[in-house]
Amino acid sequence: MDTGSHLPKTGMIGELSETRYWIYLLLLPSLVIILLVIAYPTIYGMAISFREMRLTRPGLTGWVGFKHYIVMIDDPVFWVALKNTVLWVTFAVVLELGLGFIAATALNRNVPGTGIFAVLILVPYFLPNVVAGHMWALLLDPRLGVINDVLVRIGILSSYKAWFADPNTALAATIFVEAWHGFPFFALLLLAGLKGIPYDLYRAAAVDGAGPIAQFRLITVPMLKSVIAAAVILRVISLVNSPDLLLILTGGGPGDATQVLSLYAFQTAYKDFNFGYASALSVVMFVILMVFAYAYIRLSKIGQE
């Protein structure tokens, strides 16, 4: 078969492909898409945060400087939402990481049936947030919920509990649902990381007298450090930015007990139609995430390895 590879390259493209500019040309389409889809909306969103933009008040417009940010300082809902965001993300990520580690370690043992378990463990992650939210709203329902029924039957509860209606349990209940939904993400990434650790390391450590805990502490965790760091950053970004589960389970209530920044920004934009203030809230979230990612990478010393 003649592939034509022996033919001399002709024309401008042929000549260009031999130069160092070729690589930039290949990157150009991606760059244009990134500028249009990511950079432009981000910059535009930041610009709106310094403007008055309320859809129901078309007459109110123009630059307002830092007005929205100053209002935010005196907005009690913002501070509650910020506190809840920290709690929601921290507890959800810690739980998901822990459960993910357990699942990944179990799946990494090459015993029969792990393939099926691997698929089953991933099922929660395949479910869209909306479906998972409605499913858990039903499971924890104070009238029809299976979980309440089981807890009453085994004597843990004396009567059905309205988990999402009590401010003392609402946030915890939503974190539980989120942990169930998100832990396969960690399991998947950690399992891939575990598969990459040479078994010889464990064998050598065993010869040196290291037990399972020492092996886990001295080999597994350090070898997975980059994977853990990447997974945590991705998950934190995803959790901070996604209000959908909370929107379905509690709508931010009762009161403001489960109000988080992303949900507050969503409600401000699409219920109040106040896009200026909602953009300012989003910019604050963006800055918090940037600071977190920078600090986390510095502290975990990934860049130095």
Binding site: A162, G255, Q267, F273
Partner: protein, 412 residues
């Protein structure tokens, strides 16, 4: 497969022609955004579309359902991004916001020239008009009323439904028995709670907005929020899940026998009739009166033109909803009250006793409050403020202060 230049040109020409044909077909087509969701609503909509297509064969209607809670988010995004539909459903509570964001086309001239206009008294247009301009044609009405379990009332020795708030509390105490998992009242404390909080405030004599300005009477409002929240906090005649209960939960509680009374409107009649027997198991009654007023809303829902590109076809569609044949088709499928007086004379409506409470309510019912910023204030301020009282996080006075401050900010 390889194409030569001639084949490529022929293909491109054919595709260009096909796209032109598509454009030509689209000229007689309009799309319609609505927030119907239940099976009965979708059946009613399908019937109306079929009747419309039979009358106006040259216009094709494509419907798109949007969840009620997301409707305004989608419409506002469409307005900002320039992807507006031709027509859309409009309810009174959202009307002011839609007009303010230039989301509706002025239909005044067309309505004046429309023969069907005589079937709609002035009050039908009030919630869909602003500054003398009409922006939507009324189609159906949601009339507030109360559903009650006739069998539970009989068991409790109650002769009839409560006529005022005092009787309501007395009856609620008799109807509640937590040991049986039975509570008197399905309180909506989750999404949509604001509606009844506002109604109770007005029933205690506090207006919300007067002459376009915030007008909450703090003392009356505190009294109202105290009374209403006490049903949960002190009287405990409401299921413990109330602070998170929205439409689905309050209806589920009533249908499954957990509660004996629920406040809603005529729109849920077909759903409740599907689970309980009319007359023996459940009955309907006008909303109980408060100390200062008897508050029940009569909310006319209509349809408006959102984009002018296909204005003729769009007008045919939105005005068709006001015709008696469309109104009766919707009534048969959903039980939704017609807005047109011509359709209200239909024997299927006048001969059914279950509608008596709604017919009585038409005499005193009020339009919902409609002002720019109403949706945001109701959902983002009134809901969490009231929930925080239910859950003991704040006192009624604090909640009312938050509502007053939020209303001032919303209307500023």
């Amino acid at each position: 497969m390889q194409l030569n230049r001639r084949e490529l040109l022929a293909g491109a020409t054919a595709m260009a022609l096909a796209s032109q044909m598509g454009t030509a077909r689209a000229a007689g087509a309009i799309n319609y955004w609505h927030h119907f969701a239940s099976q009965s609503e979708m059946e009613g909509l399908a019937k109306i579309i079929a009747l419309f297509q039979a009358k106006y064969s040259g216009t094709k209607v494509t419907q798109e359902g949007i969840p009620n809670s997301e409707y305004m988010a989608k419409v506002s995004s469409a307005v900002v991004a320039g992807g507006k539909p031709d027509t859309g459903m409009v309810i009174t509570e959202r009307f002011a916001d839609l007009v303010a964001m230039n989301g509706l086309v002025d239909l005044s001239a067309r309505v004046k020239a429309w023969p069907g206009r005589s079937s709609f008294p002035d009050n039908r247009w009030k919630g869909l008009s602003q500054d003398g301009k009409i922006y939507a044609v009324p189609a159906f009405a949601f009339v507030d009323w109360m559903y009650y379990r006739a069998d539970y009332f009989e068991q409790a020795g109650l002769s009839g439904p409560p006529k005022n708030f005092d009787e309501f509390v007395q009856a609620a105490r008799k109807l509640t028995d937590p040991s049986k998992g039975r509570y008197a009242f399905s309180m909506r404390g989750g999404a949509g709670a604001f509606k009844y909080v506002i109604d109770v405030m007005e029933a205690f004599g506090s207006p919300i907005v007067k002459d376009g300005k915030p007008a909450i009477d703090r003392a009356a409002a505190i009294e109202a929020v105290t009374f209403y929240s006490d049903l949960f906090v002190k009287e405990k005649v409401v299921p413990p899940s109330a602070p998170n209960d929205s439409y689905r939960q309050i209806m589920e509680a009533f249908r499954t026998g957990q509660t004996a009374m629920v406040w809603h409107h005529t729109g849920s009649l077909s759903e409740i009739s599907g689970a309980l027997k009319q007359g023996t198991q459940f009955q309907t009654a006008p909303m109980p009166a408060g100390p200062k007023a008897q508050i029940a809303r009569v909310a006319y829902a209509g349809n408006g033109v959102i984009k002018e590109d296909n204005i003729e076809a769009a007008w045919q569609w939105v005005s068709f909803w006001g015709e008696p044949e469309a109104a009766i088709a919707l009534l048969e499928a959903t039980g939704y009250f017609p807005a047109s007086t011509a359709a209200l004379q239909d024997p299927r409506l006048t001969s059914n006793k279950i509608y008596d409470a709604a017919v009585k309510t038409l005499d005193f019912g009020r339009l919902p409050n409609t002002f720019v910023g109403a949706a945001g204030w109701s959902e983002n301020v009134v809901n969490p403020a009231f929930q925080s009282v239910l859950t003991g996080q704040s006192k009624p006075a604090d909640a009312v202060d938050r509502m007053i401050k939020g209303l001032d900010a919303a209307m500023r």
